[in-house]
């Protein structure tokens, strides 16, 4: 009884093992590409109109296809399944036999270019999951979705040519990149602000570089970039990026951002028809580097992302009181304690010429009349009295420490570069279009002496004790000489 039971058990397990071996052998002998090739062959025979074509079709041998590209260091086996990519008879066939859409292959024959140079994916793989690299195939560059595919054109072509010849999306993305002021925070080729990450080589970075935790759907870099445009703080919670794009714009920009690649194409592949240097007039430069934060610059706004007030830099009241050399100093050196980047050549990478152009653009609408000079140095100042006044009059907006910041309407006042004369003038005259009201006789009604004291106190906040005493001494010496 027992022996019979064990015997049957042995028989069943032997059968199961045999079945497994059989399935494995079958899978190895007839992989999916072989099935596709047989199907393709049948299709050709079936569609043949004359004897000669039929004979030719029947002679096709089934076997792995590979295109080896020495210069590109690529070996693409995609044509093992996608056999009809160059066959005009296959225009209406089903994928994978379908002919390549449009006429891209006329100038890019498969034998010379392969497939993965444009489409990405894993060229050497021999099954669909690994070759396309989608889902959880652990391939850094899975096959690129059609809406972003134009990003790969920019490896060899210039944007001017792409704009006219089938690369509109990526060209639009390039224009958007400049208009939306991405480089106000991100560096590209060594030029740009320092608030965001450097973008060089972003399109060819490994998946592991991107924090994928909150990406919805496939965890690819394409999805990361796209969803990051939709809501930066959903993907990177501490992000300070501002991205207010339409769906379409986000697609274009994603396409463009993917063109930032670290490796260069071999020279015999590139085709640059016309090198167009981007416009470098004041307005374009302002858009590239300033517009993301300062917008139109007419009003100062409290910004929920930066958690501070962004000053109005094209406000007539501001332009009236400030001179070009002072603006230049601010632009070049930045403002410590705020989000303002230092834009000089060895920091954010703008040349003096470019900075001058931007300043000319900002000050374009400077009002003719100058305010009556304040004559700060003509007064004796008393920072102690200034402190009392500051606590009552200024601290509500600028904060007790004069740094501005969260939930405060005022900007950071601690800056060594600010000339006391300019600050005093601003306090007296105020700035229309911002919450800074005139504190002089025209408005709140402070005496000039009070303003001097307040400014002196603010000056003591931003200067160290030693700097303040030496400045004071210099002032007194000057008075003495006079």
């Amino acid at each position: 009884m027992h022996s019979k039971f064990y015997l049957s058990l042995l028989l069943i397990s032997a059968l199961v093992l045999f079945a497994f071996i059989a399935i494995a052998t079958y899978n190895e002998l007839a992989p999916e590409w072989k099935r596709y090739q047989t199907e393709y062959k049948d299709l050709l025979i079936k569609n043949a109109t004359d004897e000669a074509t039929r004979e030719r079709a029947e002679k096709i041998e089934i076997g792995m296809q590979q295109i080896y590209l020495r210069d590109l260091k690529k070996a693409d086996r995609c044509t093992s399944c996608h056999q009809g990519v160059e066959n005009p008879l296959m225009t209406d066939a089903e994928i994978p036999f379908k002919k390549h859409s449009a006429d891209y292959l006329e100038n890019h024959p498969v034998a010379e270019f392969g497939c993965t140079v444009c489409h990405y994916g894993q060229g050497r793989a021999m099954n669909i999951k690994e070759a396309h690299g989608e889902e959880h195939a652990h391939w850094d560059f899975p096959i690129i979705p059609t809406k972003y595919i134009q990003s790969t054109c920019a490896q060899c072509h210039d944007f001017e040519m792409l704009k006219q010849e089938g690369g509109e999306n990526v060209a639009k993305g390039e224009a958007l990149f400049r208009e939306k002021g991405c480089m106000g925070c991100h560096k590209l080729n060594g030029v740009g602000g320092d608030l965001g990450k450097t973008l060089d080589g972003l399109g060819s970075k490994a998946r592991a570089y991107f924090p994928m935790k909150y990406v919805v759907g496939d965890r690819t870099i394409y999805n990361w970039i796209r969803q990051h445009f939709d809501d930066p703080r959903k993907i990177v919670s501490e992000s300070e990026m501002r991205s207010f794009l339409t769906e379409e714009e986000a697609d274009f920009l994603t396409t463009y951002v993917l063109t930032f690649r670290s490796e260069q194409m071999p020279r015999n592949y590139t085709l640059i028809k016309n090198i167009v240097i981007p416009k470098t007039d004041g307005e374009s430069l302002y858009k590239m580097y300033c517009v993301a934060c300062h917008a139109e610059g007419k009003y100062s706004v409290y910004d929920e992302i930066f958690k501070r007030t962004i000053p109005a830099i094209m406000n007539p009241a501001f332009l009236r009181t400030i001179d070009d050399s002072h603006i230049k100093k601010i632009v070049k050196e930045g403002r410590t304690g705020t989000h303002m980047t230092a834009w000089k050549v060895d920091a954010a990478g703008l040349t003096d010429e470019e900075i001058n152009k931007i300043i000319n653009y900002i000050t374009m609408n400077r009002p003719e009349e100058k305010p009556e000079p304040f004559g700060f140095s003509g007064f004796k100042n008393d920072p102690k009295h200034g402190e009392e006044l500051y606590k009552v009059r200024c601290a509500l907006c600028h904060g007790e420490d004069g740094k501005g910041g969260e939930r405060l309407l005022g900007i950071n006042l601690r800056s060594k570069d600010d000339d006391p004369e300019f600050v005093a003038l601003t306090v007296r005259e105020g700035r229309e279009g911002t919450p800074m009201v005139p504190f002089g006789k025209k408005g709140v009604g402070l005496e000039d002496q009070d303003i001097v004291d307040i400014v002196a106190y603010v000056r003591t906040l931003s200067l160290s004790q030693r700097e303040w005493t030496s400045e004071k001494k210099r002032g007194e010496e000057k008075d003495g000489r006079m």
Binding site: Y299, V301, Y302, D303, E304, V392, C397, R407, L409, V444
Partner: protein, 267 residues
């Protein structure tokens, strides 16, 4: 000897009376017009701290004018300092249409309204804050006229049920959010982008977009109790009505749960 002593006693008595009267005179004087000095003090503090935005007459037309604020979603909001002369206030614990009680006003002055950039005044003495309220009440006649209506305008009682925030109450709240058409202004996801959001104006005809629940803390604070108070009393002067008559107390608490969910305070 005896006469000298008597004289000495009289002098001491007179001196005592003099000193005592000197002490008492200012005290009695202060008691007489404490009201007057309070308003004067209030005016002084108001002129230094509040006038710059709310205007010397309290009409919200101070030197500052308007304040601009950009939310994380990129929506720009124009904030107008509140007009105190109308006697209409948003943040009350009293029923819709009533004047706020002093505690409501003191709360706003002390804590400020962070999202509207009204600063907090916790650091100034309580006496001065109370004095500001006294002075503020001179801006509108409503304060004197409606002093008798006290019985109707008692602050509402808030008693939070234990189940607020439970999954069941959130679902209940969601159906009510749809049924009561909250989404017409506040949007389906509470982002303040409903179909009617753009046309929303306050009582003075200025554009006042509905609150975006994903943008941060509510003006009055985001505790369940304060959200409940908003549903019950409404925000007078804005598009937000009171739901005291339209919804049962229970239902209002359900909506509180759903609001907390929209604000991502609960999962």
């Amino acid at each position: 000897m005896g006469g000298c002593r008597k004289r000495y006693k009289i002098i001491v008595l007179i001196l005592n009376i003099l000193i005592l009267s000197l002490v008492f005179v200012p005290l009695t004087h202060a008691e007489e017009d404490i009201h007057e000095t309070d308003i004067e003090l209030g005016k002084k503090v108001y002129n230094i701290r509040c006038e710059i935005c709310h205007g010397s007459k309290g009409d919200g037309k101070g030197l500052v004018g308007v304040i601009r604020r950009v939310e994380k979603s990129g929506r720009e909001q124009v904030i107008y300092p509140w007009d105190l002369t109308q006697g209409v206030f948003r943040f009350r614990t009293t029923p819709s249409g009533c004047l706020p009680d002093e505690e409501d006003l003191l709360g706003i002055i002390s804590n400020g309204i962070p999202i509207s950039l009204m600063p907090s005044h916790k650091h100034i003495p309580l006496k001065e804050r109370n004095a500001i309220i006294k002075y503020m009440k001179t801006f509108s006649d409503r304060w004197e006229e409606e002093e008798e209506e006290e019985e109707f305008c008692q602050p509402i009682t808030v008693k939070k049920p234990e189940w607020v925030g439970s999954p069941f109450s959130v679902i209940k709240g969601e159906t009510l959010y749809k049924k009561m058409k909250c989404w017409e202004c506040h949007g389906h996801e509470g982002k303040g982008d409903g179909p009617k959001a753009k046309d929303l104006k306050d009582d003075w005809g200025r554009i006042m977009p509905p609150f975006d629940f994903t943008s941060g803390e509510l003006k009055r604070g985001s505790s369940p109790e304060s959200i409940y108070i908003t549903f019950t009393t409404g925000l007078d002067g804005t598009g937000m009505p009171s739901y005291e008559d339209a919804l049962k107390e229970e239902d209002r608490w359900y909506l509180v749960s759903y609001t907390l969910k929209l604000m991502k305070k609960i999962k």
